[in-house]
Symmetry: C2
Subunit: 341 residues, 2 copies
């Protein structure tokens, strides 16, 4: 059997409680006692039973992470940031993927509540009625990472989707593009909506109307980018630039353009979004919008932990600035090119 507080108590002669307090660095234990107890505990190879402690103290030091798909490089990096920060703050993380399904998200929340997590970091499906109700009933802190749902934006850590997409499209419009193919993301997430809005905003700023036939839907994967561009070309749609909801789509788009003997950026310029690690290794290097993924995860945990440790700490939307990363997939002969690789 594993070593318990009782074993240390028996061995040292102190009470279980004193042992517990000494190991927890409680201030009311004398230095001498603390040292003795810690030494013996080490000798005996004591590993605290966190489950038992959680139960009594009503704090599990565990955070639930509800991601859409941990294998998606975007989330993979966000989760990395979360894991790192959580580990350093002495929290453990329980990870669940929802595959963007509202019902899975509900199940995940309930499961994690049952496991007594101290807080939740969620990449939420957009405005699902049932889920909105569920969030409102939550009695533990929760942070939406990289996304939002209506009415609870103050729980979100965001990275300027509207502005970022507007910047990208504006960049192209300013350089004369008028036939821009836009490949949108999955329907049920706020990012898709915001980036579409950014697109519109940029057009309007140039007093232009969008041709809806240049907006294609997708689920945001590399295969979609490839297939959508193929389809557009097959339909005989003419365009001089492709703006993608994310880098994965853009990578697929690059592939299709290459196969169709269209040169990037000379024949067609391509814009991604997210700045994945792999994007600068594409041929050509992908121009994109920077999203601080790792930082996003870290920030989510930082905020969450503050809420956990101080229930009075108010919720406020955290906004991170988007930034264009101009590389080889767009033409670089202009002054606002401030990035290399």
């Amino acid at each position: 059997m594993n070593v318990k507080l009782k074993d240390i108590a028996d061995r040292t002669g102190f009470s279980i409680n004193t042992v517990s307090r000494a190991l927890r660095e409680d201030s009311r234990i004398s230095e001498a006692t603390r040292v003795t107890i810690r030494r013996i505990a080490n000798e005996m190879g004591y590993i605290p039973n966190v489950v038992a402690g959680s139960m009594r103290s009503n704090r599990s030091r565990t955070i639930g992470i509800i991601s859409a798909d941990s294998a998606n490089p975007f989330f993979a990096e966000v989760i990395q940031g979360i894991e790192e920060k959580a580990r350093k703050a002495n929290y453990s993380i329980l990870l669940i993927n929802t595959e963007e399904q509202a019902a899975n998200e509900r199940d995940a929340i309930r499961l994690l509540l049952g496991r007594q997590v101290d807080g939740l970091v969620i990449a939420p499906v957009y405005n699902d009625e049932e889920n909105l109700a569920l969030y409102r009933e939550l009695t533990i802190p929760y942070i939406f990472v990289g996304r939002y749902v209506d009415g609870m934006q103050d729980h979100s850590i965001l990275h300027g989707d509207v502005e970022g997409q507007a910047l990208a499209v504006d960049h192209l419009l300013r350089h004369g593009h008028r036939k821009i193919l836009y490949i949108a993301g999955p329907k049920n997430i706020s990012n898709t909506i915001d980036r579409l809005q950014g697109l519109t905003q940029a057009y309007h700023a140039h007093n232009l109307e969008i041709d809806e036939s240049y907006i294609l839907s997708s689920s945001g994967h590399m295969e979609d980018g490839y297939a959508r561009v193929n389809q557009a070309l097959n339909r005989g749609l003419s365009f001089t630039a492709v703006v993608c909801f994310n880098d994965l789509l853009a990578i697929g788009a690059l592939k299709s353009l290459h196969e169709n003997s269209l040169s990037v950026p000379d024949d067609v310029e391509v814009f991604g979004f997210d700045n994945l690690a792999m994007s600068q290794f594409m041929q050509p290097r992908l121009t994109t919008v920077e999203v601080p993924k790792n930082r996003l995860g870290q920030k989510a945990v930082e905020e969450l932990v503050r809420h956990i440790e101080d229930p009075a700490y108010p919720y406020t939307t955290v906004n991170m600035k988007p930034r264009l990363i101009l590389r080889e997939s767009t033409l670089a002969n202009h002054m606002d090119n401030n990035a290399t690789h």
Copy 2:
């Protein structure tokens, strides 16, 4: 306060224990009682306190996952398989990254033991003395995923590193290559050792000796592949093929070759390993060795759960077959080209 078994007991008139058993589908409860209790529990929005249950039953239905780096696309896919399978088997996963540091791995194991996990899935650092001792002392089941440590191979799920690398190198040797640059992986993992052995094996099968100056070390990231090939070219090393420990390196290598105006595959052929999702979107599409990453994760959980549920279930190494995926980064004019993308 949350609904507890006691609340349901009060409401239905049954004892706490009967309620507990009814909800757990215990056979000794009548159908009528079970139905009533379940209905009321639902009405009241009961969510079982898993922590309390774990404590009493000594089973947490939690698995600890010790990965090197969850943001690495290889692990990201393995973890996805793990998460999916675990969720379906009604287990939750606690995720920790070690950054390939033996000391972090130890900390992770102890942390997870303290959290009373029912089993561990580990991507272990190779043969760290202290860790080997720690594994041997473990009283819960554990599976090494995609790697092994000496003396405990039977705890591993493997995917034929030696054979896979030998196949790849043999393929090139058979097609006349004699100057093959090999970029190896991180020193402290079994995969690096095995793949180097596969390399050697293939050379020996062709009665050739390896020129050690063609073997470069790396930590297995895209940047390394890029830098190593750059360095080799700068050193004036002549080679007709680059074989990489993994796809990430190969992607970096492709970049460097392109920048140095070397055509792939015409001037230099490039071989990766792992078959990452992104690899078929490279320009040119990357030839590689298939590793069933998702399946690897799933299998690890399958095995682990069997061990958890039946302590007598014997450990045996699970081997998965490697398979060449020949694409555009190698010349395809030969009969054994059986793959597209």
